[in-house]
C-alpha cells in the first residue's frame, strides 16, 4: 500500500492491522524517549491548503516520533485558484526530497488526483479533501471506540450515532465507510437539508430526529461541527433553531446511557452543537481521540513509508 486517500482503499484486515499497529506505536508516546528510528532519513511534507492546527500538528509530531524530517507547507487557499498549480507545488516538493506528501485541500478528490495522476512518485496521505474524506480521522475514531467499547479486533455490534452537518462532512463519510467495514451499525442524524437521503447508499441508517436516534441507545455519539465555510446559502433557519433541535445538551444529553461515549473531531463550538456539560463530561473521549490521532498517523506513515521501502 502506497497511498491512503480513501477508506475504500482498505479492507477489514488492513484496517484492523493499522489499528493494532497504532495501539503499539501509541505506547511510544508514553515513554521517556518518545522516538523510534523507523523513518530516519525520510522526509514528510505537510501540504495544507486549508487552515488546520490540530491535524497538521498531529501529522507533524507523528512523523517526528518516527524520526522523519518534516516540512510544513501552508498554501493559502487563494493560491488554489491563482498562482502555482497543485501539480507544480507537489513536483517541487518532491524535487526537494519529499518521500510522502500529507495533503489537506478544500477540493474533493484532490488527494486522489495527486496520488493517481503520475505527477509524483512518493506516497500521498489524505488529511482531508473538501467534503469527501478524512481517512485518518475515521481510523482514530475507530481506534478510540475499539479501546473504550470492545476487547476484540473489530467493532461488531457497536451502535454509532453521528450527528450534525453530514452533507459537508468528510469525517462522516470516512467514518461511515470504516466503521461499517469493521462491523459497527452506523446511524446518521441531522436536518434533512444537511443529510440528504442519498447517504443511505454509503451503508448507514438515516434519522431526521435526534431524540428518536438517541432512543435507540447508541454506544457512541459523535457530534459534528456545522461547516459554514462549505455552505452555499442557508440550510437551516437560524443558529438558535439548529441548537434547539440538534445540540447535544439538556434533555437529549440526559438520554445518553451511563457508558455511552461522546466523540467530536474538533474544533468544538461549545453552546452550539455541544453543551459545556456534554463536552466536559467524563464520557467525553475527545482528548483520547487527539492522543489516538497521533498513534494512528504514526501507524499510517509507517505502513506507507517503511513497508516496502
Amino acid at each position: 500500500m502506497k497511498h491512503l486517500t480513501s477508506i475504500r482503499e482498505l479492507d477489514k484486515g488492513s484496517a484492523t492491522a493499522i489499528l493494532d499497529n497504532a495501539d503499539e506505536l501509541g505506547a511510544v508516546n508514553t515513554r521517556e524517549v518518545k522516538k523510534l528510528p523507523a523513518l530516519r532519513g525520510k522526509t514528510v511534507v505537510n501540504l495544507f491548503y486549508e487552515n488546520s492546527t490540530r491535524t497538521r500538528i498531529s501529522f507533524e509530531i507523528a512523523a517526528k516520533r518516527l524520526s522523519a524530517d518534516v516540512i510544513n507547507f501552508a498554501a493559502a487557499t487563494s493560491s488554489v485558484s491563482k498562482g502555482e498549480s497543485l501539480k507544480d507545488t507537489a513536483q517541487t516538493l518532491e524535487a526537494l526530497g519529499a518521500d510522502a506528501i500529507v495533503i489537506r485541500h478544500p477540493m474533493s478528490g484532490a488527494a486522489h488526483t495527486l496520488a493517481s495522476k503520475g505527477w509524483i512518485s512518493g506516497s500521498v496521505v489524505n488529511a482531508g479533501d473538501g467534503s469527501h474524506e478524512h481517512p485518518t480521522q475515521a481510523l482514530l475514531d475507530a481506534l478510540t471506540i475499539r479501546q473504550l467499547k470492545k476487547s476484540g479486533s473489530d467493532l461488531a455490534g457497536i451502535k454509532v450515532l453521528i450527528v450534525g452537518d453530514i452533507q459537508h462532512s468528510r469525517v462522516a463519510r470516512s467514518n461511515v465507510l470504516l466503521l461499517s467495514l469493521l462491523g459497527a451499525e452506523v446511524t446518521l442524524a441531522g436536518p434533512e437539508t444537511l443529510l440528504p437521503k442519498t447517504f443511505s447508499a454509503l451503508g448507514s441508517e438515516i434519522s431526521h430526529s435526534f431524540e428518536e436516534a438517541l432512543s435507540a441507545k447508541p454506544d457512541v455519539v459523535m457530534m459534528l461541527r456545522v461547516q459554514r465555510e462549505r455552505m452555499q446559502g442557508t440550510f437551516f433557519p437560524s443558529e438558535r433553531e439548529y441548537a434547539a433541535k440538534w445540540s447535544l445538551a439538556g434533555e437529549r444529553f440526559k438520554m445518553l446511557g451511563s457508558d455511552t461515549i461522546i466523540l467530536h473531531p474538533g474544533p468544538m463550538n461549545r453552546g452550539f452543537e455541544i453543551s459545556n456539560e456534554a463536552a466536559d463530561d467524563p464520557r467525553s473521549a475527545v482528548l483520547t481521540q487527539v492522543r489516538n490521532g497521533l498513534a494512528v498517523r504514526m501507524a499510517v506513515l509507517y505502513k506507507l513509508m517503511a513497508g516496502e521501502g
Partner: protein, 422 residues
C-alpha cells in the same frame, strides 16, 4: 467529374453518385469509371448544431481551422459555432469574422450562432437583428454555456427571434439550483463529496421554456438533454404541438456518472454525465423521435485546464470525430433504428432546425456535401486527433464505424484518413 461507385444509400439501395463541379449531377448507376466505394454507406454530410470553435479568444484550445479539420474528419460538412468566444459573438462584426475564418479554412460550412444576450450575461438582448441580416445570416441564437434564465428576457428573445425566422437554442440549467455544481446529483455525488447538479434544474427550465414557446408561438431548441425527466417534458411539449426540438450529445448517449469516480477531469462536462437510466431514456428518445438531433457540444480545452484537481478543471469534452460512431452504436448496432434515422439526426434535421440550405440530402442538383462511412470498421479512439485539444472521454475505447471520405461542395475535405491540406 467524380463518380462514387457502388455506394449504399441510407435507404439500403446500392448505386453511384456523380458529382460535377460542386453539385450532384446524378444519383443512379452509370457506366463512367470512378472511385470504388463498395461496402461504404453514403450519407448527406453531417451538420453539427453545437460546436465550440473557441475562436476568437481561446485559440490555444481550438481555432476555426483546427475545428474544421476535426469536423471534416468526423464527416461534417457544416458546423454551427457557439457564441461563447471572446469577444462574445453578440454583434454582426464578430459573427462575420467567424464566418470569414470558416470560409478561409474552406473545409466545411461554418455558421456562427449569435448570443441571445449581450456578453452572455442574461440581461439585455444582443444585436439579434443585425446578426440576422449580416453577411453571416445568423438564424440560431444561444447563450450556451449559460442559461437564459430570466423568464422575461427569454420571453422577449423568443418573440423577437421568431420575427427573424430564427430559433433559440437553450442551455437549460437553472442557475440557483446548480451553484458550484460539479457532477450529477445523487448517491455518487454524495459519496465523492462533489456538489450535485440536480435533474430538476434542467427539467424545470425546459418546462418553463416550452410554455413560453407555446405562448409566443416561437421556435425553441433545447441543447444537450441529459435526463429521463427532460425527455418526458419534451415528449409532453411535442404532443401539445409546441414548436420544440431537442438535442443529445454523443457522450450523454454512451457515458455515465460512474466515470467520475476516478476524479479524472476528462469526464467533467456541463451538463454532467448522468445515470444509466437517463442514458437509456435518451437513447429511447432519439429512436422514437422525441429527440431530434445529435449535437456534439464539442468543447475543446487545452491540457492545462484538465491536468488539475476536478473542481479546478474546466467543463467540456471534444466530440466531432467520434459522434458518427456513437450514433452508429446507438441506432444501428443496437438494431433499434436504421441509416435513415441516423442520417436524419446527424444531418437533415439539424440543417432544418438551423435553416441551413444545401445540406441534409443527397439529391440531383444539390451541393455535393457527402460523407462515406465504412460501417464494418472497428477502431480504437485516439486522444490526439485533428482538434488542438485532447480532452476526449472516449480515448482508448473501441468503437464501430469509420468515416472514410468527406466531400464538401464537390471536393474532398477528408480522404482516406487525411484532411485536405493537413
Amino acid at each position: 467529374m467524380q463518380v462514387f461507385k457502388g455506394v449504399q444509400l441510407a435507404s439500403g439501395e446500392t448505386t453511384d453518385i456523380t458529382v460535377e463541379g460542386s453539385n450532384i449531377t446524378k444519383v443512379g448507376k452509370t457506366k463512367e469509371n470512378g472511385l470504388d466505394c463498395s461496402g461504404l454507406i453514403a450519407l448527406p454530410g453531417f451538420v453539427d448544431l453545437h460546436t465550440h470553435l473557441r475562436q476568437p479568444g481561446y485559440e490555444a484550445s481550438e481555432t476555426v481551422l483546427s475545428g474544421s479539420r476535426s469536423g471534416a474528419a468526423g464527416g461534417y460538412t457544416a458546423l454551427f459555432a457557439m457564441a461563447n468566444s471572446d469577444p462574445v459573438a453578440d454583434t454582426a462584426s464578430v459573427v462575420e469574422q467567424v464566418m470569414k475564418l470558416g470560409e478561409e479554412a474552406g473545409l466545411l460550412e461554418v455558421r456562427p450562432i449569435g448570443a441571445v444576450t449581450k456578453g452572455l450575461a442574461g440581461d439585455e438582448l444582443s444585436a439579434l437583428g443585425s446578426m440576422a441580416t449580416s453577411a453571416a445570416r445568423v438564424r440560431v441564437f444561444s447563450d450556451d454555456g449559460n442559461c437564459v434564465h430570466d423568464p422575461l428576457v427569454m420571453q422577449r428573445a423568443l418573440t423577437y427571434v421568431k420575427s427573424l425566422g430564427g430559433v433559440i437554442a437553450q442551455h437549460a440549467q437553472e442557475p440557483r439550483l446548480t451553484e458550484g455544481s460539479q457532477m450529477n446529483s445523487g448517491e455518487l455525488s454524495t459519496e465523492l463529496g462533489l456538489k450535485g447538479w440536480p435533474s430538476v434544474a434542467e427539467e424545470s427550465i425546459i418546462a418553463r421554456d416550452a410554455l413560453l414557446a407555446e405562448q409566443t408561438g416561437a421556435r425553441l431548441h433545447i441543447c444537450h438533454l441529459t435526463t429521463a425527466g427532460a425527455v418526458d417534458v419534451v415528449r409532453w411539449a411535442k404532443t401539445r404541438g409546441i414548436q420544440i426540438t431537442a438535442e443529445v450529445t454523443p457522450h450523454h448517449l454512451m457515458l455515465t456518472e460512474d466515470l467520475v469516480r476516478s476524479y479524472d477531469p476528462v469526464f467533467k462536462v456541463n451538463p454532467p454525465l448522468r445515470r444509466m437510466e437517463d442514458t437509456l431514456a435518451l437513447r429511447e428518445g432519439l429512436i422514437d423521435g422525441t429527440i431530434d438531433v445529435i449535437g456534439t457540444d464539442h468543447a475543446p480545452h487545452s491540457s492545462e485546464k484538465k491536468d488539475c484537481e476536478w473542481e479546478q478543471a474546466a467543463f467540456g469534452m471534444v466530440g466531432l470525430e467520434h459522434a458518427a460512431s456513437v450514433a452508429q452504436e446507438v441506432l444501428i448496432e443496437s438494431g433499434a433504428a436504421d441509416w435513415n434515422r441516423l442520417s436524419e439526426v446527424m444531418s437533415s434535421k439539424p440543417a432544418e432546425i438551423g435553416s441551413l440550405e444545401g445540406h441534409g440530402s443527397i439529391a440531383l442538383g444539390q451541393p455535393a456535401n457527402l460523407v462515406l462511412i465504412d460501417p464494418a470498421a472497428s477502431r480504437t479512439v485516439a486522444a490526439v486527433t485533428h482538434s488542438l485539444s485532447s480532452n476526449n472521454p472516449f480515448a482508448g475505447r473501441q468503437l464501430k464505424g469509420r468515416v472514410v471520405h468527406t466531400v464538401f461542395r464537390g471536393k474532398f475535405s477528408y480522404k482516406d484518413g487525411k484532411v485536405k491540406n493537413a
